[in-house]
Symmetry: C2
Subunit: 337 residues, 2 copies
DNA sequence: GTAATTACTGATATCGTTGTCAACTAAGCT
DNA sequence: AGCTTAGTTGACAACGATATCAGTAATTAC
């Protein structure tokens, strides 16, 4: 038999409504009665019934994670960050896989939200880049926060990483190690990260007075297989680059396999650089030079932004860009003695 | 403004209770009225309000996944299977990470269930092996189903895989390829899978009249690093095995790195076998011979069992053992001409 | 043909909260 | 003092479903 508000109100000698006020941290409760009520709540071990709360108040204390990303480590980190905040706040996470090519996505999500009275959404790439979808969320007054959006102007709450700057910095590092012939494997063109990473690369080349060899630029889709294919293509030509910079670690791993199958020694014959610092990066041999993003922290912050919007918390929080870190490992060598 | 039962009952010209009966597939509704009601429901696009349902009926349509497993691919597959059923049935999945060393785990989970009125649990390894925890669930009359339990006698609903038989079969396969000196890396001793896999291995050796060289058996914990360490130990001795059978792919990958760092060629100098068919297995070079479990299907079935118990569905479903498949790839070679 | 059983149906109470609104008290202002 | 305002409190309705139980219609039994 559960403890209800009524039990608490009897114990504390106040009305049900006053207890409710205390629970919901409403104003206009005197310190004295608040104290009495809190004591009773603790004494009886009262916990408000979430179903009743959401039935009456239309708030479910559930947020949803929208995703359509095959990278399971990435998703697991995102989930981890959100769940950390959920534990702190008593919210609950619901997973919702979406198909970003679905033209009715907006409607389906709206329906999903109504169905479960979801309080808000956390949107991850590549859904973060679907402008008409985001527009739909705005129009339906859905609360949401976004991880790594392409266009931050339209978005109230987001977290992002400095992909462009990190890519620029890594390219500089590669050049500093004496590499003149640099291959690049782009990510999926629907992800804004692909463009940021590529643009950081080309801009660094330009600033160092180097020209882009378009033969050495291949388009992948962030998967191991696409990296493998791109690697095979890049490595079959006579005029090979001395280093390949892949837009993520999985594609770099694909290149590594392609190289090893062709008897090309990494890093002696070919240096290799990835992006993301997936667990894989440290496990390959040679281990992969790459770029680490604080994905888990980003997700945590995105969830904080969302709950801030939902609860209208006093402390306004700001969208934030997180800084990536270059991780130098064995797969990138110095060509200058 | 949402459509309520009342709207439907007005439209159909019946009482709200009758509509409720149709929604809940209760008996004693004539075919004729049922049809009318269903038509009205569809016409108005009525969807029952879950909060109201769970407030009154104590059923939340939420199930929880209990996990404490660092293998993110495994978890993602599990999640995928459960979510597939959730989409079909309108249930909702809540994630709950647990610490299996926590002595108060049972109480905390009970509290969690009460808090969110969770309808049931899906328990994954290594929690599947915590007997006192499962006993607590029985005593508190919690509905649950288990993935890969160690002890199927006490458990009403479970799914398992034939780890023992698969390991036995793989060991036979290894022997058939002419390997006489076989190393083995065990998994985490808290996972029942570790013992099943090891026992399958030793039993196959025995049945083929081969003896176990305990120097070639190392204990790992299913992590890449533990495989790497075990690999270094196994490979430093003069008397090396010709093949190493690791209890999962991550540990096998660790061995591969250890070998490559020591200039040992795989598979020419050393064959390697894993377990699980993680994506990693196909991405390594050489690609890994391993054993595939239908994890996603297992999770789907576990969820079906759970919902069957909760809803008391007419069609009784049975616990089930799923069959694994040997995946033969490059890392295991034939020593016989 | 009447009684007993079974199959349907609906009026109303109920789940445990929050929202509305009115009442009361204490303080501030002419 | 009299009037306004702000702060505090509680009685009661409402959220949208399901549960209970009584009532009516249809079927079966004898």
């Amino acid at each position: 038999m559960p403890v209800t508000i009524k039990d608490v109100s009897n114990d504390a000698g106040v009305s049900i409504k006053t207890v409710s006020r205390v629970i919901n941290k409403e104003k206009n409760v005197s310190e004295k009665t608040k104290e009495i009520v809190i004591k009773s709540i603790q004494k009886l071990g009262f916990k408000p019934n979430k179903s009743a709360q959401s039935l009456r108040s239309k708030r479910s204390h559930m947020i949803a994670l929208l995703y359509n990303n095959p990278n399971k480590h990435y998703l697991a980190d995102i989930q981890g960050g959100i769940l950390r905040l959920c534990k702190e706040t008593g919210y609950n996470l619901v997973l919702q896989e979406c198909d970003y090519t679905n033209v009715n996505l907006g409607l389906e999500i709206t329906e999903f939200i109504d169905d479960f009275s979801i309080d808000g959404l956390i949107v991850t790439p590549p859904l973060s880049d679907m402008n008409e979808f985001l527009e739909h969320l705005n129009q339906t007054q859905t609360e949401y926060s976004i991880i790594a959006p392409s266009n931050t102007r339209k978005v109230k709450s987001y977290v992002s990483s400095n992909d462009y700057e990190a890519s620029y910095a890594m390219t500089n590092k590669i050049i500093n190690k004496g590499h003149l012939n640099i291959g690049f494997i782009k990510g999926h063109h629907k992800h804004s990260a692909s463009h940021l990473r590529f643009n950081g690369f080309t801009e660094a080349l330009k600033d160092r007075g180097m020209s882009l060899n378009s033969e050495w630029v291949k388009e992948g889709n962030f998967s191991f297989d696409s990296g493998f294919s791109a690697g095979l293509e890049l490595l079959k030509s006579h005029n090979k680059p001395s280093v390949i910079f892949a837009s993520n670690d999985y594609m770099a791993a694909g290149v590594m396999k392609a190289a090893q199958m062709n008897g090309i020694n990494i890093p002696l014959d070919l240096s290799l650089v990835g992006f993301d610092d997936s667990p894989l990066a440290a496990q390959l041999w040679p281990s992969l030079t790459t770029i680490r993003q604080p994905v888990e922290d980003m997700a945590y912050h995105a969830a904080r932004l969302l709950l801030g919007n939902i609860d209208g918390l006093s402390e306004e929080m700001d969208s934030k860009e997180f800084i990536s870190e270059l991780i130098l490992r064995e797969s990138l060598i110095n060509l200058i003695d």
